[in-house]
Subunit: 307 residues, 2 copies
Amino acid sequence: MSKKMNDSNSKLAIAVVGLGNIGKFAIEAVQASEDMYCAGVVRRQAKEGERLNDFDLPVVDAIEKLGHVDVALLCVPSRQVRAQAEFYLAKGINTVDSFDIHEDILELKTSLTEVAQKHGKVAVVASGWDPGTDSMMRAMMLIMAPKGITSTNFGPGMSMGHSVAAKSIPGVKDALSMTIPLGTGIHRRMVYIELDDGANESEVIRAIKADSYFSTSETHIKVVDDINALKDMGHGVQMLHKGVSGATHNQQFMFDMRINNPALTSQIMVSAARASVRQQAGAYTMIEIPPVDYLAGCRSDWIKKLV
Amino acid sequence: MSKKMNDSNSKLAIAVVGLGNIGKFAIEAVQASEDMYCAGVVRRQAKEGERLNDFDLPVVDAIEKLGHVDVALLCVPSRQVRAQAEFYLAKGINTVDSFDIHEDILELKTSLTEVAQKHGKVAVVASGWDPGTDSMMRAMMLIMAPKGITSTNFGPGMSMGHSVAAKSIPGVKDALSMTIPLGTGIHRRMVYIELDDGANESEVIRAIKADSYFSTSETHIKVVDDINALKDMGHGVQMLHKGVSGATHNQQFMFDMRINNPALTSQIMVSAARASVRQQAGAYTMIEIPPVDYLAGCRSDWIKKLV
């Protein structure tokens, strides 16, 4: 009998790998879920006996020190996901990641499928909100109206990738890039920057606009005194689909959300962790898993409540 | 080798059972799908050699007369679904229905599971928009924010059930009941009636308001000359969820659609027919099937396009 069956009333044991923004929110989401518990946090730089006092959790440098773990939530940068997922799957632990490099997702899934099946485990890949639940939403719209145009309009909200790109320009002390939706999937970038002492403002602005992250979009740059004073983790999406059901045109669908970004991402990862223990061995994107499998508790109860 | 593999380039053979509004739109949706073809229509009252000229299809009184059929779309009243589904499953044909009596769905699913498994086939039950895709949407919102209130606001649009109820009141020649959303899941009924000659208007109005279909909602009744002049198959839903992701409150989600009602219902049934041949034997509600399985073509292509 596995340890999982013996303790904590069969709750799933979850390890959080990484302790950035997503990692911290992931701990909260695990602790808010009645069917799981957080076994602890894994960080490379953890010290012997370290604890995370806010959550009363151990921080360790190797997952074995947490005892039995069912699922590892990989709260790490996308570029580290593949190696980390392979590492934990090989230890017989399911993995969930929010890998967000859209064009590389199929390859990640394919390669993790092999590793996961070899070890009889499950990886849920790209399980954030986009890719992730937005992907499920795009599928839903095509189930209802298979022909037509879908646009995904992001924001207003902070883009991590664009903020980092702007910050890397010489003369920029700190930067915040906001994504502003202009409709039909077109976006404006509002880039707020704090300059280094002695930096040449017009040169810096020219360099940001020339960067490949910004050169193809309408980009406005504003110099401010304090980037930290502007930071807000709120984000949003509006997804529109106008299409054809059968031979009937002009069917209209809209999904809109206004959310705290890392809180949503980590909650979705936690829902995916639950779904992972309900799938056959292999790697899955979110559109490949039945929606009910993400929800805590008994399938029949959800059919009664939701259907 | 099954006939399915031999002809029509492995397209799925679909039979439409019933020829009401949904049945007609279902034929259009099948014919608009490249991966399937409509083998014909099954109607109890079909005459020998009958054809549906608009669609160049045979109309038969027994499904055997259509040759090989993979999936039967049951475009029949909810009360007939169970018997019809059992009948076709026993013939080795998958079934899809849009059974819409919410409180009886789990029982229908449970009973059809047994029949479907016995014959190695699949039934997809309650696959319209509510129950159906709205159910999937409610699940999606709980994946993203497990705590909080979801409200489903219907309309403006025609309610078939309430229209029939109003029409059955003595003195009513014809009736149309519109569902008007007032927010937070509360609805107003706007009931348009045509009176029989000599009917007492105030008596009829009193009788409608006393009927159990109307007595618990705000109901307004208007006498008009011609009900047919008011009929419009447009309908809508707005679903709102404000909830908690992890420990983060005030996460806001909204889904809104404005659609032709029978066109959407029948398109969803057709998408479910495709999904049915991709499931293990048994009966399923829509929340129990991976979203990607409803879409035509190859899973990897959808991962590339949607994820």
